[in-house]
């Protein structure tokens, strides 16, 4: 369980949508994530977990080409991100953070913008269905400036799905949604990924939802992958109530002394049982 899946992988497999090899990245010369190895294949929904400041967003920014790699290599759909950024970016759809959305445009204009970049149309029935499921339709002709956090997140999710890119990336996007919207967004992602040609990376703090939604999970701490779970391990960990949280707490507190581990896991178990 301790060994991250995809660790040390080399070469491009047929259904390998993302290969991250020895990636280090950060800001202003300061490395935030170090030596990250991660492979995402079609059919995977990878939960990216970690405390605040553990490097989740930095890793996702490095994967999507928003910050320069200090070391290592990222390949999307077999295309090296550093060598051919434009071609590589065809391979993923990122749900942009709410505050980064173009506030003066309406939701429809924003979707038009993304669709025109991805060379697809948003007028078909499938799209109307997705918009309806996310309950976005009443807002589409209003300026994004008027949107709430949750409505912005819905728009970001809708835009990330445009053109059906093979790899979908959500950086805590689901956190701001209401329960119905979270459910619909998860269903949309699961349906797409279930088709066998897509994958998703979902960074989240909703740890309890990970075993049911994700097929794999990766835990970051202090900029490194400390633990990863595959499907079977996730199922085993989630068999008991609060089992996955226990498993995560153990991984996080490893090396901090037996007392800390015992205290944390006992508290976690007590919380899970009371919940």
């Amino acid at each position: 369980m301790d060994k991250p899946s995809g660790d040390g992988s080399s070469g491009i497999e047929r259904d390998e949508l993302l290969a991250v090899c020895g990636v280090g990245a950060g800001y202003g010369g300061r490395q935030v994530v170090t030596g990250i190895d991660l492979t995402v294949n079609a059919g995977d929904i990878v939960g990216l977990l970690g405390a605040n400041g553990s490097g989740k967003s930095t890793l996702l920014k490095a994967i999507t080409g928003q910050i320069r790699l200090m070391s290592g290599r990222v390949a999307i759909n077999g295309i090296d991100l550093a060598a051919r950024p434009e071609a590589a970016k065809v391979g993923f759809g990122l749900a942009v953070d709410g505050p980064e959305l173009p506030a003066p445009l309406s939701g429809r204009q924003y979707l038009d913008l993304v669709a025109s970049i991805r060379r697809c149309r948003i007028a078909d029935d499938e799209w109307a269905g997705r918009i309806a499921r996310l309950r976005l339709a009443p807002w589409l002709d209003r300026p994004i400036a008027e949107y709430s956090l949750g409505t912005r997140a819905k728009l970001s999710i809708a835009a990330a799905l445009l053109g059906s890119p093979p790899l979908l990336i959500f950086d805590e996007t689901l956190n701001g949604l209401d329960p119905v919207a979270v459910w619909e967004a998860k269903c949309l992602i699961a349906e797409l990924v279930g088709g066998g040609s897509h994958a998703a990376i979902v960074s989240t703090h909703a740890v309890e939802a990970v075993p049911a939604f994700c097929t794999r999970a990766v835990l970051l701490s202090e900029g490194r992958v400390v633990t990863a779970w595959d499907t079977a391990e996730l199922s085993r960990a989630a068999a008991a109530p609060g089992g996955f949280e226990d498993s995560m707490m153990q991984a996080l507190t490893k090396g901090q002394g037996a007392a800390a581990i015992d205290g944390a896991t006992a508290a976690g178990r007590a919380y899970s049982q009371s919940a």
Partner: protein
């Protein structure tokens, strides 16, 4: 008062944060290169003033009207920029939730702007006194004080206007403000022009959802450009000389391009994490400003040809110069993508410096300017692709 230093503290932390995110190598380049350039500029200005002192000493209009009114205007413009900077901090959304009164915010913004204006005031006074000592009227010290006073008057007037505007903006209803721009469901003419791939990019760049809002600033800018063009065209037609209208065509063309070009979407993950290259996105953002620039160029350039048909090459030359200047400015605007005012000031300074120096050193300076443009373009592209 309790919150008087708030804006200064915020600005100081921002400056420290920015310095920390810079690599030491880049900081050294900026400090050393900038210092050398400023030193060279000052030395060059002193030499030029000395050489022209015999003529300048008798230019009473220059020293009594042009320089003082220039300093007054410069003070106002500087205060407007600094006031906007400080007001943005005083009225920041995260501060709105705190129990700080509107008056306290205005005072904090004003005090920060006043303190930031002191070194500028001293610099304006010292430079005026030095210029007066080298090539100006007698009593340079008195002239320096007079110049400082005029700069301070302009600065205070500009600051008062800026703070009042920020105060009004803070009290305005953001939803009503956004509604006054309309929404995307009924796009105006701009909406029809802004459908090329990627769609709505110019609307985003101009912060308008497809409809141009008529503001007093837009009307004033259009009026100034209209007057300049009309007077120049009349001068050309009366004197049967192409030069006035051709020069106006060039000046208005580049002014429109500089006023309308906005590259801030290049910094957004919406574009940077999308499969669209830097060159494509940049050219798309340049498309409408370029069309506007050409549209404003065509009429005075045509008048220049009509006024003196034999000198058609003057109009053609200003057209080529417009293309070159637009391309050069686009590199500055891409580099300073979130600070268009800085792009305008640095481009104007670079053009003025190159124009002046090229008389002395010829093509070498133009090659240096072209190298600077290429370097800015490369840095902007690199930042877009790799952060």
């Amino acid at each position: 008062m309790r919150y008087d230093g708030l804006v200064l503290i915020l600005l100081w932390h921002e400056l420290r944060g920015t310095m920390r995110t810079q690599r030491p190598y880049d900081l050294a380049w900026i400090t050393l290169g900038g210092g050398i350039l400023v030193g060279y500029g000052v030395a060059d200005a002193v030499v030029a003033l000395r050489n022209a002192s015999a003529v300048l000493r008798h230019e009473d209009l220059l020293w009594m009207i042009a320089v003082p009114s220039g300093l007054f205007g410069f003070g106002g413009l500087t205060a407007s920029a600094i006031g906007r900077l400080t007001a943005a901090r005083a009225f920041a959304p995260f501060l709105k939730a705190l129990p700080i009164s509107l008056e306290a915010r205005c005072r904090a913004a004003g005090i920060a702007a006043l303190l930031m204006g002191i070194p500028l005031l001293v610099a304006a006074g010292l430079m005026s006194a030095a210029a007066s000592a080298i090539a100006g009227p007698p009593f340079p010290l008195a002239y320096g004080f007079l110049a400082s006073g005029l700069f301070a008057t302009g600065y205070l007037a500009g600051l008062a206007l800026g703070i009042a505007r920020a105060r009004r903006g803070d009290q305005a209803d953001p939803v009503l403000t956004s509604r006054s721009c309309g929404d995307g469901s009924h796009p105006g003419i701009l909406g029809l022009l802004d459908r090329g791939r990627p769609a709505w990019l110019s609307s985003w760049a101009w912060n308008i959802p497809g409809r141009v809002r008529i503001t007093w600033r837009l009307v004033a800018s259009a009026l100034v450009l209209f007057i300049v063009v009309t007077i120049s065209m009349a001068a050309s037609l009366v004197s049967h000389a192409a030069a006035p209208a051709a020069m106006a065509a060039l000046a208005v063309g580049i002014a429109v391009f500089m006023l309308s070009l906005r590259f801030h979407p290049l910094g957004s993950p919406v574009l940077r994490a999308s499969p669209i290259g830097f060159t494509h996105a940049r050219l798309r953002l340049m498309r409408l400003p370029f069309k506007l620039s050409v549209a404003t160029f065509v009429l005075p350039a045509s008048v220049a040809v009509a006024a003196e048909p034999a000198s058609w090459e003057v109009a053609a030359g200003s057209g080529i110069a417009l293309l070159a200047l637009n391309a050069a400015y686009a590199a500055f605007a891409a580099y300073f993508m979130t600070a268009p005012l800085l792009a305008v000031v640095s481009f104007s300074a670079a053009i003025a410096f190159c124009g002046y120096e090229s008389f002395e050193y010829g093509r070498t300076v133009l090659i240096g300017f072209a190298t600077l443009v290429a370097w800015l373009w490369h840095k902007a592209r690199s930042r877009y692709n790799y952060g």
